[in-house]
């Protein structure tokens, strides 16, 4: 038995999505810019998908552009808005737990003369709207804050930040890759100007995503060419993938309540099962303001790569933010931002669920985890046995 609980890294594609995509590989091959029937067909498919994506986040379909995924959406949003607004100012505010595609894009913008302020989060990963407000100057042009974090699940006070940015006429970008399809998102109500989502996190194919660009917000394109996607993302549209993403949005819009409800009770079982039964085990992230599919912990005295490989031997696939698990040999910046020391971040474990995970799987994980943790602790010079 293989139990897959690494859905924040990559999620399975829904069979209904795959089915919807199939015809667009062979029989429906048109390019949306072509004038013939196949072209019209492709155009219709493209616009239907756009409508489905828009409706998931309460946007208008003309406000959606398709991209190659969350990373590209974040790049187009930040670079596009920064370049467009640079006459007004050069200051960007982000939080300390943004995705690397936001962090590194901002670093790059810094090299081009933009100033970036990183606002810290508390030990639960929550950002305080007042702290963001305190950093605003008359040169601030963009505030970028993720909707929720994929490593610790914490959901940010997006509506509050949105109201503030709208009032101050600052562009508000939200990376909603982890949150979309898991919790309700309403770009109108939250006053969001730019919002990134990725298809795979909605059980759609990889390599496709979308960026919501509120009508009236102007961006300078990063990708130039034939002017597709309102000129913001040139290049022939990847129709099969876009159709898949549209279908995934359609499904998840219908099923978000039952999906998230089911995952939330599995998550609760995972969290309670660990915190209630295991010593020196801690939840990372916020206890209640969290995504329904993210069970994230840290275990003292042991290291994450060892945990992951041991779980893998038992048929369980998960992930960690330990320094030993990545090429840079640096612990996850998210875990450091919530105040963990590197050796504490070492023992991090992330179990991220999908809509198909079962209670039986959860129980098997709960049985296996203590075996793994105990074995590794017995090997650890930091553990003295109690």
């Amino acid at each position: 038995m293989r139990i897959y609980m690494d859905n924040a890294s990559s999620a399975p594609v829904d069979k209904r999505v795959i089915e919807a995509m199939f015809p667009y590989f062979d029989t429906h091959v048109g390019n949306p810019t072509s004038l013939h029937s196949s072209g019209i067909d492709a155009r219709r498919a493209l616009e239907n998908a756009r409508e489905s994506v828009a409706s998931l986040i309460k946007a208008q379909s003309k406000e959606i552009i398709f991209t190659s995924g969350g990373t590209e959406s974040n790049n187009i949003a930040l670079r596009g808005a920064a370049q467009r607004k640079k006459k007004k100012g050069n200051h960007i505010i982000i939080t300390a737990i943004e995705h690397m595609s936001v962090v590194n894009t901002c670093k790059d913008l810094q090299r081009e003369g933009f100033e970036v302020t990183t606002v810290p989060v508390d030990k639960y990963g929550l950002v305080d709207q007042a702290r963001i407000e305190a950093e605003i100057t008359n040169r601030t042009i963009i505030i970028s804050c993720q909707y929720a974090n994929s490593e610790i699940g914490t959901i940010q006070p997006i509506a509050q930040i949105g109201a503030m940015t709208r009032e101050q006429d600052i562009i508000f970008h939200v990376d909603a890759v982890a949150a979309a399809g898991k919790i309700h998102i309403d770009v109108q109500q939250d006053n969001i100007d730019l919002l990134s989502i990725s298809s795979n996190d909605l059980y759609g194919p990889r390599g496709v995503g979308a960026l919501y660009v509120r009508s009236g917000i102007l961006l300078r394109p990063v990708m130039t060419g034939g002017g597709q996607e309102r000129g913001l993302r040139s290049g022939s549209e990847n129709i099969p993938a876009i159709v898949g993403m549209g279908k995934a949005c359609e499904i998840i819009k219908e099923e978000i309540k039952s999906d998230s409800g089911r995952m939330e009770s599995l998550q609760e079982r995972l969290i309670e099962g660990v915190l209630g039964n295991m010593q020196h085990a801690y939840l990372t992230g916020h206890r209640t303001r969290r995504l329904p599919h993210i069970a994230s912990y840290r275990f003292s005295f042991i290291e994450g790569e060892s945990i992951i490989l041991s779980l893998n031997d038992l048929g369980i696939e998960a992930s960690t933010g330990s320094a030993c698990s990545v090429k840079t040999l640096e612990p996850s910046h998210v875990l450091i931002a919530i105040g963990l020391r590197p050796e504490e971040a070492h023992g991090s474990l992330l179990l991220s669920l999908n809509r198909w995970n079962t209670e039986k799987e959860v129980d098997y994980v709960l049985e296996s985890l203590p075996l793994v943790v105990d074995r590794l602790r017995a090997l650890s010079p930091l553990y003295n046995g109690d």
Binding site: F301, E303, E305, S306, A323, A378, L379, S380, P381
Partner: protein, 138 residues
Amino acid sequence: MDIDYSEKVKEHFRNPRNVGTIKDADAVGRVGNPVCGDVMEIQLKIEDNIIKDIKFQTFGCASAIATSSMITEMAKGKTLDEALEITRNDVADELDGLPPIKMHCSNLAADALHSAIEDYMEKQKKGELKLGENEYDV
């Protein structure tokens, strides 16, 4: 198991040899890894300059655990001078290689062993000194 670990690394990670501590150990070497913050401890029982028993404990990745397990096997039964000659490359070779990014973990194992032996030698020196003082006293 994931990552490009050799079968030997995986085997030592799954079934590490010589885990634990030694009661009345003659020497202890404890080192931390400056790169990623891991800790390794090696304890020795020494008779006639020969490593009679050796135990380790490691807080680190799979490769750190496998290299410490391997180095204890390699050092057991060796004289102190022989054991001091064991390098991180020897350990990695004995494990059929390590991914380049994981070479620093084998450093840790070699350092822990060497620091345990040095600890013993230090103690010996002090011991001799004490003996001398006693003779002087008499």
